[in-house]
């Protein structure tokens, strides 16, 4: 146990020496990885926010189904409740609707022309297009109405951002891997004598390669910290302004959206460490022949 701890301590010392030897390359690698992680984190937060927006708005999203005369709205509501996409059905009878209308507007004394209406809330806003045609197929339903366009647009934007985020993060990750690979390669070259001595004197492969992997992981972790700092800055100074503008444009927008910065930071750290350590492991495996 103590021996393992001593070996671990030596690996950390060697990692530190490797970082010291890399000089300015450290900042180059960390900066590029930081840009990649900031984009990843930013896109992740934006998608999370949009998802939250769609969900929050989706909770308010409902399909209004207007029933033909002669059908019992309670029976129809019970039937519609059987659909898996349905979360809740609210019945507004023609009498209630007419009374409300009379209460709100000056309406001439005519016979009630309004139909019985069901307000159907969905378990997920994505399912509007699945449920609406099913409802239209019911004999009891004369017509349906739902605000499809906005829901669809937000979902489309979210999907586009997800794809763009994956693509940009992927491209930047590949660039980072190349830079990490080159940096670690230079460190390996600088330490070739130590590596040769250790290998010929019977030191295990794990000990020889581990400092390089740790160095890569350190780059990833540092980059994730920097990216978190940038996103925190955006969160503190840019978000309130953007939110204000959005609310003036779209007052219906939910105002308590959670950005999950801690969760994003953890994901960025995990990705950064994974990319850093993975790139270094690949490079050390390629260039250290033991």
């Amino acid at each position: 146990m103590l021996r393992t701890l001593r070996i671990f301590k030596r690996i950390l010392v060697e990692t530190g020496l490797g970082l010291k030897a890399s000089g300015w390359s450290n900042w180059l690698v960390t900066s590029i990885l930081c840009v990649a992680l900031t984009i990843f984190g930013g896109v992740l937060q934006l998608t999370m926010t949009l998802k939250g927006l769609v969900e929050a708005w989706g909770n308010q999203l409902e399909i209004s189904a207007y029933l033909r005369d002669g059908y019992d709205p309670k029976a129809v509501a019970a039937e519609i409740c059987q659909f898996p996409e349905v979360k809740q059905v609210e019945i507004v009878t023609k009498e209630v609707a007419w009374r409300d209308m009379q209460h709100t507007f000056k309406v001439a004394a005519i016979n009630n022309p309004l139909p019985n209406t069901l307000h159907i809330k969905l378990s997920s806003p994505d399912q509007v297009e699945t449920l609406a045609p099913k409802l239209r197929l019911l004999n009891q339903v004369e017509n349906t109405k739902y605000p499809l366009k906005v829901a669809k647009k937000i979902t489309d934007i979210r999907h586009f951002l997800e794809l763009a985020g994956i693509f940009i993060t992927g491209a930047l990750t590949a660039a980072t891997l190349t830079v990490i690979g080159n940096t670690i390669h230079l460190v390996i070259k600088a330490k070739h004598r130590e590596i040769e001595i250790l290998s010929l004197m019977g030191v295990g492969h794990f000990y020889i390669k581990c400092p390089f992997v740790f160095q890569g992981a350190a780059y990833g972790f540092m980059a994730a910290l920097m990216a978190t700092g940038i996103l925190l800055g955006v969160h503190l100074y840019v978000d309130p302004y953007v939110k204000e503008q959005l609310l003036s444009l779209a007052p219906f927008m939910p105002q308590n959206l959670q950005y999950g910065l801690l969760q994003t930071s953890m994901m960025m750290a995990a990705l950064g460490v994974l990319v850093g350590a993975g790139g270094s492991l690949w490079t050390s495996g390629r260039y250290i022949k033991i």
Partner: protein, 228 residues
């Protein structure tokens, strides 16, 4: 201790070793001689498993090195000391740290490191130069550091690949005599060299290689001039 059985080694179809059969006993001191390209370094590399033979078997302490998988090679190398022509010292580390370097990497505790490095440096006569850097030492002293590093683990086998190649004749003799003294303590020592005066001064077992083949193997042997 060391046994080679019908060993052949080819590099891209070109033979470097041809049907080599050898046995070196525990505690024995032997020279492996021959001109450049005779196969000395190839044979040494087979012994520390830097290479594997094209055919035949190499045994060290009864272990068939061909059967070792990659993860077992470090364990094999901890049971031997290797000395190089170019010393392979770390220029930024002191004499003490050069010898202690591998012990620390193996997780040996600092008191134990002290306990092992000091006697090793005493054996090679460098107990007064612990804190010197390699650049402050003569070639002979640098090779002594290399020897101290090779024996610090107390290995049963010491392989020296052209250990006097970079040294003047007088220092070369000192180094080989030092290796002989180490051998007298029970360590098997195999020295590959083409330094004829040294080999002939020692009059020990001489294994001669030429074109990858063992051409002579004599106790109290000489390195014949016509070999070169």
């Amino acid at each position: 201790m060391i046994r080679l059985q019908n060993v052949n080694k080819n590099y891209g179809g070109r033979p470097a070793l041809l049907n080599v059969n050898l046995h070196i006993a525990l505690g024995e001191f032997a020279f492996l001689v021959g001109p450049s390209g005779a196969g000395k370094s190839t044979l040494m590399r087979l012994l520390y498993r830097e290479e594997t033979p094209t055919s035949g078997n190499v045994f060290l302490g009864g272990v068939n090195l061909n059967r070792l998988h990659k993860g077992q090679i470090p364990l094999l190398r901890r049971r031997m000391g290797i000395i190089f022509q170019d010393f392979k010292l770390l220029p930024s580390q002191t004499v003490f740290n050069n010898v202690a370097y591998v012990l620390r990497a193996l997780g040996v505790d600092e008191r134990e490191v002290q306990k092992r490095v000091e006697p090793a440096l005493a054996v090679v006569g460098l107990e007064h130069k612990y804190n010197a850097l390699p650049s402050e030492l003569s070639g002979g002293e640098q090779q002594r550091v290399g020897i101290a590093r090779a024996i610090v683990n107390g290995p049963p086998v010491l392989l020296a690949d052209e250990p006097t190649g970079n040294l003047d004749p007088a220092t070369s003799l000192e180094i080989v005599q030092l290796l002989e003294r180490i051998s007298q303590r029970g360590t098997t020592v195999l020295i590959s060299t083409h330094d004829q005066p040294i080999v002939n001064a020692m009059r020990r077992r001489v294994i001669s290689l030429k074109g990858g083949e063992v051409v002579t193997d004599m106790d109290n042997g000489l390195y014949e001039l016509e070999m070169q």
